[in-house]
Point group: C2
Chain length 395, copies 2
Amino acid sequence: MSAEPMIATARWTRALTRSAMQDMLELTARPGLLSMALGLPAAELFPTAGLAVALERVLAEDPRALQYEPPSERLKQHVVALMARRGVQCDASQVFITAGAQQGMNLLGRLLLDPGAAVVVEERAYPGFLQVIEPFEPRILTVPSDLQTGMDVDAVATLLAHGERPALIYAITDGHNPLGVGLSREKRARLVELSRRYGVPILEDDAYGFLTYEEAAPPMRALDAEQVYYIGSFSKLLAPALRVGWMVVPEALRHGLSAIKEATDINTATLAQRAVAAYLDSGALDEHLGLIRREYRARRDQLLRSLTAHFPAAARWSTPSAGMFVWVELAPSVDTLTLLRRAVEQHGVAFVPSAAFAVPGGPRSSHGMRLNFSNPPPARIEEGVARLAAALADR
Amino acid sequence: MSAEPMIATARWTRALTRSAMQDMLELTARPGLLSMALGLPAAELFPTAGLAVALERVLAEDPRALQYEPPSERLKQHVVALMARRGVQCDASQVFITAGAQQGMNLLGRLLLDPGAAVVVEERAYPGFLQVIEPFEPRILTVPSDLQTGMDVDAVATLLAHGERPALIYAITDGHNPLGVGLSREKRARLVELSRRYGVPILEDDAYGFLTYEEAAPPMRALDAEQVYYIGSFSKLLAPALRVGWMVVPEALRHGLSAIKEATDINTATLAQRAVAAYLDSGALDEHLGLIRREYRARRDQLLRSLTAHFPAAARWSTPSAGMFVWVELAPSVDTLTLLRRAVEQHGVAFVPSAAFAVPGGPRSSHGMRLNFSNPPPARIEEGVARLAAALADR
């Protein structure tokens, strides 16, 4: 009889649509295209030699390096030290190792969300988080964002004061994806205070938190150890291909998270965990972090200069103090999805249009674009912005 | 106000319970304990040197090895060749790379299951599969198993003939976990025929399929490319700490699986994928596979001899032609959960009691035990069985 695969499409329609968007983005990765689209770190800056030595050492010295093993205690200790650099006090019992930030969000989502749960999300949001919550058919409560100070915390306060009790508030504190903004120090404090007052946890996505180019306020986890569930990653700090990240969460969540993690993929790659720990043992991180901050800061500065030089006077953009992205708002008459096609086909340059970051039920966003500055070298950034300006002028 | 984490416990109660079981198992991993409990490969047989060379080569020669990248085409080609060894014809477009077999089951579960979906599972089942389907609150249809020929396919036929239309049938074809049995050639053909007739896909979990100690019939995927969704893994073939596995699925599923995979953990570690591909490029697999098959076969034989020598006449067990486990049925008066405590505390030996493999709504199982033979060396196997026999005699 029927050999048609029976797919539970209802819940995955949006995921499939978004994947169509992904396909388009992959199309835009065609050779010769100057892409400022994806959120890729610069491969030429990866600490390849240091990681090679770490892997070699672990394989030579550690007979359990290739086995199923509990999460690396050594790595957890390193995470505690890393968090201290961000002004966060925690201990190893609160550190939960993941296969990257995306998995961290998934594990927390599966632990905390019941079907139909309410979730607070900004109007322009990281699509990967929307993918995490989508299977729960959540009620999404959107709040606006400001390009200088981040999430509109007053709007969150209003929702809570009106009786909403969301399962969680999703926030990217530094290097917001896609908005390239940092949450102001005052807003961090206020959001944590709201979280406490109403007993609503904050999922603090800090995937870009170590890529800071100015002095940064500590993440919200520094202000509260019980209500803020912190997500970090080595993907941007070292390299994405290791798939190692972490969470800092109250110990009470650990048991449930372990059960879900085991059901998801048994454990995080022992070899990668121990290689990261060995790399950190070597003390090479400081120099590496200095290098990538310097280099990414230069690329950000180049992008901002190029925008000022080439983009129309009506355009506005964020000035990121962290992360990999600048968000540009063009004149409302510009449709960036249409612009993208022209930019790719006629000018050989790509970006991500704001439509990709719209939230179901939230306002449309047709005239924004996300530009990545971490991946292309400075000279290509200048060239890319000039091409985008030409595509814009083409209308 | 309340700082209590709000956990969606309802759906995770069983996961949490099972994790309590896991805690007990971890307790039983105390130093000096002779454990035949967990399904661990033998760490001393890992191809450590070959993988070290592969990793070194990839890091030295491949500038994209540490970046986010699409799944490795080279690895997919190797999987096609591996599948051909098992008598399966497929092409790279049907190969989907995963972070191991457990993730493969998860991705398929999320794609195929709607809440309340019916699923056919054997009465003694791999707990990791139950964890995968649990969030969907499935209706579990259990069928018995035979220790010589595997799943009772007549029982599946009866369910289907009576109008049940499950979303999928879960089957481990070779090296069944926990039963240590292979599905007979006739049953493979019959199950595939039922799957076709009623349009119900088979999830074929072949995590142990390359650890065969006798000539083996091809997996069910060799009989049908549309209805059988095949799951394989490098965890048992090479090493678990890489977290690389694969599925062979109809191309029609790929788009949906990609979207769910991206939402789950972005992608499978590029470095691990390319290192496995480089290892396979080196041609070292044949020798390695020969080595582990010889060694595991010797350990299996030792376990079977030891059982014959030490265990009571009333005991019955499977004679595995593949995998890592022997299943022992003791006299119905024996409660293996009680036995486990005595075995660990007084005799310093551990196994997994049958209660760990019971299925919700299925029959209880109190007098079975799963014994692992891949991890302990032969001399320890003999000693372990003698200790178990002493614990049994203690009653």
